[in-house]
């Protein structure tokens, strides 16, 4: 019987199992030890594994990320929590200049099997410097795997695979999703780090989504079905790098209509990339020009009404679909 647990509990379970399995797995991050993590993702691990394997770091993002990468050279498996992606900007040097390139520029001699987890997205009125959506930045750099789980089962299985995978893996989480509940199998399992998943089968239009936007699309699909008799398919692009070309082609070839729903600003984003893939792979399958539903291209304002206006939601998805159908 799969058990319903919260997203953060799935993270705790995955890390706990991996730490038990391999003594070289260790966790690092700000306030992850004694406090158990800002979003509780390391609850109980400090007491169980001690300060050498559950390390409270100084506020030195680039420093401890680099340290984790260095340890991974020797076969350690660090799981680095960066409290918020807004702070991951500070670690970009080590993530991009080292983790993403060490294997390549050493001609395959080195591996950097580091896992970096960090929540992004716009939460509730956290303001311009705490509302970044950075998935587009990470997915644009070769040498890094980027996954963005949309439910507890995915994050559990992906974190476990990421720990064992020899590549650096960035897990893009969402600040609003840690208390989201979902079924996770009781038996240990490993989720692929490549691919996509059809979350809802439909025949009229494909909604490509990832992470939190999967949930907006689920709501939108209900409205479209019940009020407008439009049967939407939802494809969860849980891997942003590499994007699942095959999954994209399959769904577009079936529905002939595509929308991409992203939380970030449109420029150079997931939507742009998926559209390019559609163009390259299955342009003649289309019955309508693909559409992206994205954030307004602004830093996120503090005011709640303006903040809501900046970020897409289920209604925006419904409206965009209706427009595509000329309704």
């Amino acid at each position: 019987m799969p058990q319903e647990i919260m997203f953060w509990e799935a993270l705790v379970r995955a890390q706990d199992e991996e730490m038990t399995n391999d003594p070289l797995v260790f966790c690092m991050g700000e306030d992850i030890g004694v406090v158990g993590g800002t979003y509780k993702a390391t609850t109980g691990l400090y007491d169980k594994y001690g300060p050498e394997r559950v390390m409270d770091t100084p506020i030195s993002e680039n420093g401890y990320t680099g340290l984790g990468i260095g340890a991974s050279y020797l076969g350690c498996r660090p799981i680095i929590e960066i409290m918020s992606v807004n702070f991951a900007w500070l670690a970009m040097d080590q993530i991009f200049n080292t983790a993403a390139k060490a294997h390549y520029m050493s001609g395959g001699q080195l591996k950097a099997p580091v896992v970096i987890r960090s929540p992004g997205g716009t939460a509730h009125q956290l303001g311009a410097q705490h509302s970044a959506r950075m998935e587009k930045v990470f997915m644009g750099v070769a040498g890094l795997r980027v996954v963005t789980p949309s439910n507890p089962k995915q994050v559990y299985g992906m974190l476990k695979s990421a720990v064992r995978c020899d590549d650096p893996v960035f897990i893009y989480e969402h600040e609003l999703m840690y208390n989201m509940k979902g079924a996770v199998p009781e038996d240990e399992f490993f989720h692929p780090l490549e691919g996509s998943e059809v979350t809802r089968r439909g025949k009229d239009v494909t909604l490509f989504a990832y992470n939190i936007s999967v949930h907006w699309c689920l709501q939108a699909a209900e409205i479209l079905a019940s009020q407008y008799q439009i049967d939407a398919e939802i494809v969860d692009l849980y891997t942003l790098s590499p994007l699942d070309r095959k999954g994209i082609i399959e769904s577009v070839s079936k529905t002939h209509r595509a929308l991409i729903i992203e939380e970030a600003e449109p420029a150079v984003g997931v939507g742009a990339e998926v559209m390019a893939i559609i163009n390259e792979e299955c342009f003649y399958e289309l019955d309508a020009a693909p559409v992206r539903v994205s954030a307004v291209n602004v830093p996120i304002p503090y005011n709640h009404s303006l903040e809501k206006a900046a970020i897409p939601n289920a209604n925006d998805v419904v409206k965009a679909v209706l427009k595509m159908f000329g309704r």
Binding site: D56, P58, I59, S60, H130, N297, Y302, L306
Partner: protein, 343 residues
Amino acid sequence: MNAKVQASKKLSLEQKKRLLEEMLFARRFEERCYEAYVERKIGGFLHLYSGEEACAHGVIEAANPGSDYVLTSYRDHVHAIKCGVDPKAVMAELYAKVTGCCKGLGGSMHIFGVENRFMGGYALVGGPFPLAAGIAKGIQMKKGKEICICFLGDAANNQGTFHESLNMAKLWNLPVLYVCENNLYGIGTRIDRSTAVVDQYKRVSAYNIPSTQVDGQDVEIVYEAAVEAVEHVRSGKGPYFLELMTYRYRGHSMSDSNAYRPKSEERIWSDRDPIIMLRDRLVEAKEMTIEDYKKMDNQILDQIESEVIKFAEESPEPPLEMLEKYVLVENDPWVKGGRGGVN
């Protein structure tokens, strides 16, 4: 700008009385923010300054508020007010109203009052260090007499920007005063669990920057140390680092319960409350009575309710058109190649 007469090394009686009132106002302001947050009038992250009032007040009092440049972290309301930003505009900002000092776009972590030379609150730990050095560079380029004062927490000193900025500030002899508000914690991590050298002023000596550590709960001591620090920087001798030992009464932010702090430790610090200490001294010196103080407190509470909160409550929200207004500077001719551009 309103250059003050050279600050004397000791606070005058008049200054002490005014500082008592200002610090009490700051305390009541912050505690009212707490209530407003619980009532969901304020959103986002809210970091309160209660307990640390003597730091901002003692230091900025020793400088020229409104003329010298000040910047800090997300724990920024009180610094802004002490620089002269209207408390009504600060509260309205927290209420996300268009009358707020940043028109409701910034929020608690991003108070700005550039007219009063309060150059902002920043949410990324360590971000302001180099900005302060840069403002000091600007002062130097413009041959100004001002200085720049950068307030940051203890845990921020573990960012690379701390060391990078100290090095540049010393190298280029920049007029910047770094003030470390050492409240012993960075969120839930006690300083000795994150920092190899616990005394922050010692870390600075490697850069040949003069530094001192003083009691940050006693506004008179803070002021005296700050007068020296400010004089040093203003006289062209380059940067200075002032470490103030202090304590925040509340959690790191509203989502933090302080569970990691022993109650005995909290008591030691609350027994040395900056406001009560100054009040008791003035009472003992027969410069005021407890009744005077209570009256002052009631007036402040009344002012916060009938002016500050009222203003924030009654102000309108920003219009939807504002969403895209300040992304880039409006009507800059150079984006079209200047007024005589090819187009």
